[in-house]
Amino acid sequence: MVSTILIAICVPLLAFAIGLTFIMFKLKITARVQRRYGPPIIQPIYNLLKLLLKEDNISHGVIFSLGPIIALAGSILAVFFIPIPGLNLLTGSGDLIALLYIMAIGSLGMALGAGNTANPNASIGISRALTLMFGYDLPLVIIVISVILQYHTTNLADIVAAQANGHWTLWTLPLSAIVGFVVTYGALGEHPFDIITAPHEVATGPMVEYGGKHLGFLMINHMFHIYIEIALFVDLFLGGASNLFWFYIKMFGVFFIMMLCDEVFLRFKIDDAVRFFWKWPTVVALISLIIVLVK
Amino acid sequence: MVNLANPILLIVIPLLFVFLIAFSSAFSKSAAKYLPIIAFGINVVVAMLLVPEVLKNGLVLSTTAGFKPPIAIDMIVDKLALFLVIIASVLGFVVSIYNVAYIDEEPEEKFYALFTLLITGIIWMIITGDLFNLFVAFEVTSIAAFGLVGFHRDKGSVEAGFKYLVMGAIGGSLLLVGIIMLYAATGTLNIIDVAQKSAELTFQQKFLAYALIFVGLGIEGALFPLNAWLPDAHPAAPSSVSSILSGIMTTAAIYAIIRITNIIFDYNQIYLFLMFFALLTLIFGEIAAYYQKDIKRMLAYSTIGQTGLFFFAFTIHSTNGLQGAFLQIINHSVSKSMLFLVVGAMIVQVGSRNIEDFVGLGRKMKVSSFFLAIGMFSLMGMPPFFGFWSKLKIIFAALQHSNALMIGSVVIILLMSVVEGAYFFKLLQMMFFGKAEQDREIKEASFGMLVPVVILGFILLFISFYPTPVLDFAHQAASDLMNKNYINLALKLGGL
């Protein structure tokens, strides 16, 4: 019992830590690609703590404050459903399908909070976020279904177990994996999919009125978000991992490639983003799905 | 002791009253108003007295003046005829009450005399057992109707009356020629006799006579395309007369067709031929009704549609089909008469027959509108009203023959029911939920006009919620007709 509680406390912290390191690397990678020196490696920690320690915080209402809290709570909940090597706490209570919807709680919280700011930039940001989500959701469900059909289970832990000994989905369903990568990338909202926050257009969108500790919590949530998306990709396509180290290495590999991509793209218009997702990723995912069905 | 349960009384008493009314102004100004009520009151009683007799024997036959059939003028009342006689008498009684409050135009006693004569003719047409009598009754009815349609003596009524007169006269002549041809072939006019004798004739020999009789009666019975007088005549007549014309007169003509077809020309091909007419009547009646702006015209076209419907049910040519037809006849007679009465009362208040002017009437004339709605629901065949049972029966009966023709017909019927729903609901929602642009001084209909409506409404509600006796009775009548018990029993009782 005690160990369960300890694990329950540790898992979110672990996810947070992984997300945090990713953000750290992100700033550095971005800087190096742009031939800059870049901020100190622990700059995100400074940023976060500074925000949390702001002396003044404003709120536009209860929902405004609850938004980041719900978002973070939802993200923490999602973390429990993703198998981490050695720690499968709640994978028996909800499967992959449940996870897809649990992941939405975080977005919902953020959307509610942003909506309550009474700022059109925030509303436009949320509108774009949801539209983008609708966009990448179509290829996402197709590849998720192809993976489920491949392993005849919706239990994530079982899916990970089935990929043991190097039988990664990446090798068996390469097309799905490619689409999965694109979708995960879209879900992270990096270039060219950073339409949601697009500072030059909608002034960071949903975050427009957030500052101080609220923004800090949203940053934490973002770290969790990165962790969730990439961990899910690793579990689905790269066979999870047998220990935390390899898990981290795999995640980092995925993240590193994504950050490299981030630097070379411009920004989509929102409808072009949706059109993009509904075109090539969907077609490729469908081909992959048909391959699984026939096989 | 005079046996009151004598069919002849059904005609004789009202005829007496016709003369009485015609001369009533000699002794009392207002007597003409009330005499028809008494006449049809007596008729209802007589008809009711006939019920046990008919149920017992299946048929009541009476001859006149001591002659023996086939020469005698005989009256035959079987279950089906009784059925219609009751409807006609009750409608006559109720509409007479309505007339008291409704008719305020001179010359009153002529109106009442013609009105009484109209219903007498209808009853005569129903109970006669003799082809020539049928013609006479037909003419009596027509003449009374011509006069009544033109009663308002404005341009529209006179034109409508004239059209009706011409077409009715052609119909009467065709009927007469048909009857003469039958007489020439068989040498007798008594229906029973003709039925027996004509059994030996070939189809071709009979068919032309039948075609002429059919066309003659069909003109009165509102079959397409012979019904063109109807949409003019029914709206032009005073509403109480429209109520009778729509409610029972077309039905009586259809009854005559049914009777003659059943006992003389009972060929399967004929039914196909008739079904064609029935469906055409239904389609054109309902579709035309959809376009009407004049409420009485709409109801008149709806009558054509309903006629097509129950005529179709008859052409299914099965006990179930006939049962459905009879149920639909009751439904149509009661509902449509009631609708015309209500609409008449409303026209008095609104002062216009245009549907647009009926906006918001549901809030002003609550009782009338309520019964109007019930009548319309029943005509549309919405449960739990009586029309639902009859429509259910007709469709069930039609689909007993699961051939493509029947299924196609059923589809047509139901499509036309949708059209019917379309125009009735259009009117209903305008009345109940529309809001008039300016506030009008509209009061509830007068008590004298409401009473008949309420009586008919309650009859409709009663048979809606307790349909079993009517269903049974219709079933018996239908099976009698189907098994030709009419002939057999008449032969037995009449000692022919």
Binding site: G38, P39, Y46, K50, L53, K54, D56, I58, G211 | -
Partner: protein
């Protein structure tokens, strides 16, 4: 004890704040041209933990890059008031300091800190990126030592600032 803890917290907080300065640059004049070189590879101000941000709620530094006229002052004040404590203002270039070349214009605000408390000015027309970087470093030192207290002054002398603002804005 409690005071000591608070002091310690403040010290730590100041240490963190100076390492993470997010700025909103109010691009009213030509000074904005000097910021892109400062941000990009050549000078890379993110080395110091500085980053450009978009909205007033997120930013710590308000950078007035150039002359302010009456019309824009109103906006600057709104932005400044919307920023969350602690917040710092840097007057950028001569115009913010004393009106610069517009010293005799009827429409230009001559002295920024009559209206909002400036923590630091960067002199020059235009200041070079090196000067800007130096200014940020100076600001960091001020923050570390707790002397960058413009926001406190604004609260304390609100009447004074408001009076001056009213005079100009009407």
């Amino acid at each position: 004890m409690e005071k000591m803890t608070q002091d310690q917290v403040r010290t730590i907080a100041n240490m963190l704040r100076k390492r993470s300065l997010w700025m909103i640059h109010y691009c009213t004049g030509c000074g904005a041209m000097e910021l892109p070189p400062t941000m990009t590879s050549r000078y890379d101000m993110s080395r110091l933990g500085l980053a450009p941000f978009v909205t007033s709620r997120q930013a710590d530094i308000l950078l007035i890059t150039g002359y302010l006229n009456v019309k824009t002052l109103r906006r600057v004040i709104t932005v400044y008031e919307q920023m969350l404590d602690p917040k710092y203002v840097i007057g950028f270039g001569s115009c913010a300091l004393n009106g610069g070349v517009y010293w005799d214009s009827y429409a230009v605000i001559k002295q920024l800190d009559r209206y909002i408390p400036a923590d630091l000015y960067i002199a020059g027309c235009m200041p070079r990126p090196e000067a800007i970087i130096t200014a940020f470093q100076d600001l960091m030192d001020l923050i570390d030592s707790g002397k960058a207290d413009g926001y406190k002054r604004y609260k304390r002398d609100l009447a004074y600032y408001k009076e001056n603002q009213r005079k100009v804005l009407g």
